[in-house]
């Protein structure tokens, strides 16, 4: 085999390996996102209380993770994803403040076109009876309202630790703070929620 032929063969093999690696990475990203997306949507929805906007935040977080952090170790994806999502939610709240000021300027309310219907009319996907479904929805609605009323950092710590099940270290990475701060925010959040929801909720 000539030197040129060898070079072409090596080049082709390298391209095949690169292609295979990219395909494998895409599969892993797809699996990771499929696992996390439903919980992420609900967490975003609880953060900003708007499902359509929550969809946008989740998609934006997916795009940023895929584009900027796909090469990072898979163990880092979850805290990175939630860090992007939390930043998106924070920016959304900042924009809402400005938007509301502009709306006030023109004498309009941003909630004028809020026509969301919280009652789902479709059959329950997990086969609960109507009573069970209603009971669960009421419990979740109470919890959502109580979580939404928490200070931002407590809200983040509670949702990441409880809903997503991250440990203290991963939560600290997602929130960009120390593990001690996570413990403090989480503890305060739990006590505040228990006080708000009362004994009957449990």
């Amino acid at each position: 085999m000539t030197a040129g032929a060898c070079q072409i063969a090596v080049s082709c093999t390298r391209e095949q390996i690169t292609g295979t690696t990219e395909l494998q990475q895409e599969r892993e990203l797809n699996r990771f996102l499929a696992e996390i997306e439903k919980r992420a949507l609900r967490i975003a929805e609880i953060s900003i209380r708007d499902r359509d906007e929550a969809f946008d935040l989740v998609q934006e977080a997916m795009i940023k993770l895929v584009r900027n952090y796909a090469d990072r170790p898979e163990a880092e994806w979850t805290p990175l994803f939630y860090r992007i999502l939390q930043n998106g939610a924070r920016d959304w709240h900042r924009r809402q403040v400005v938007r509301n000021r502009v709306m006030v300027w023109f004498g309009r309310s941003s909630s004028d076109d809020d026509d969301r219907d919280p009652i789902a009319s479709a059959p329950d996907p997990i086969g609960r009876t109507p009573d069970e479904k209603l009971e669960s929805q009421e419990a979740m609605e109470s919890l959502e309202l109580a979580v939404a009323a928490l200070p931002r950092r407590q809200k983040e710590a509670f949702m990441l630790r409880t809903f997503e099940g991250l440990d203290v270290a991963a939560t600290a990475a997602a929130m960009g703070c120390s593990q001690g701060s996570v413990k403090t925010h989480y503890s305060r959040a739990i006590h505040s929620l228990r006080e708000t929801l009362g004994e009957h909720w449990q």
Partner: protein
């Protein structure tokens, strides 16, 4: 005695967290088919972005100058013009201007272009619509 109280509180906190997790998981499992379909499309859309050459942020960096100009016009009007109708609403500050010019706020810039147009219409005709 205190130690026992702390242990009891910890157990109660854990029970509360477990209940919250259970209720949350049920709400996740109860997501309807439309929501799951939208998530599926969002995921595939995001993965399709992996191979695209021009990044979103680069595109935003080259956002049309008209959007920025419109935002500047509205910001100047808001900062220097007549006071808000609602006396309780705090006046706009310089930080608002920074938010308006933030790359992440491009959608807001597009909307502000519309607001700018309304403002010009009001000045020209005295009313809108």
């Amino acid at each position: 005695m205190n130690e026992r109280n702390e242990k009891t509180a910890d157990i109660e906190d854990q029970a509360f967290a477990a209940k919250a997790k259970e209720v949350f998981d049920q709400s996740v499992q109860g997501l309807d088919a439309e929501a799951q379909s939208r998530l599926n499309r969002a995921r595939h859309g995001a993965l399709a972005h992996a191979g695209s050459g021009v990044s979103h942020s680069q595109w935003l960096r080259w956002a049309p100058a008209t959007g920025v100009a419109a935002a500047a016009v509205v910001a100047v009007v808001v900062l220097t013009g007549r006071p808000p109708v609602d006396e309780l609403t705090p006046p706009a500050t310089v930080s608002d201007f920074e938010i308006l010019l933030d790359q992440e706020s491009f959608e807001m810039l597009e909307e502000l272009e519309f607001y700018s147009w309304i403002d010009l219409e009001v000045e020209g005709n005295g009313n809108v619509g």
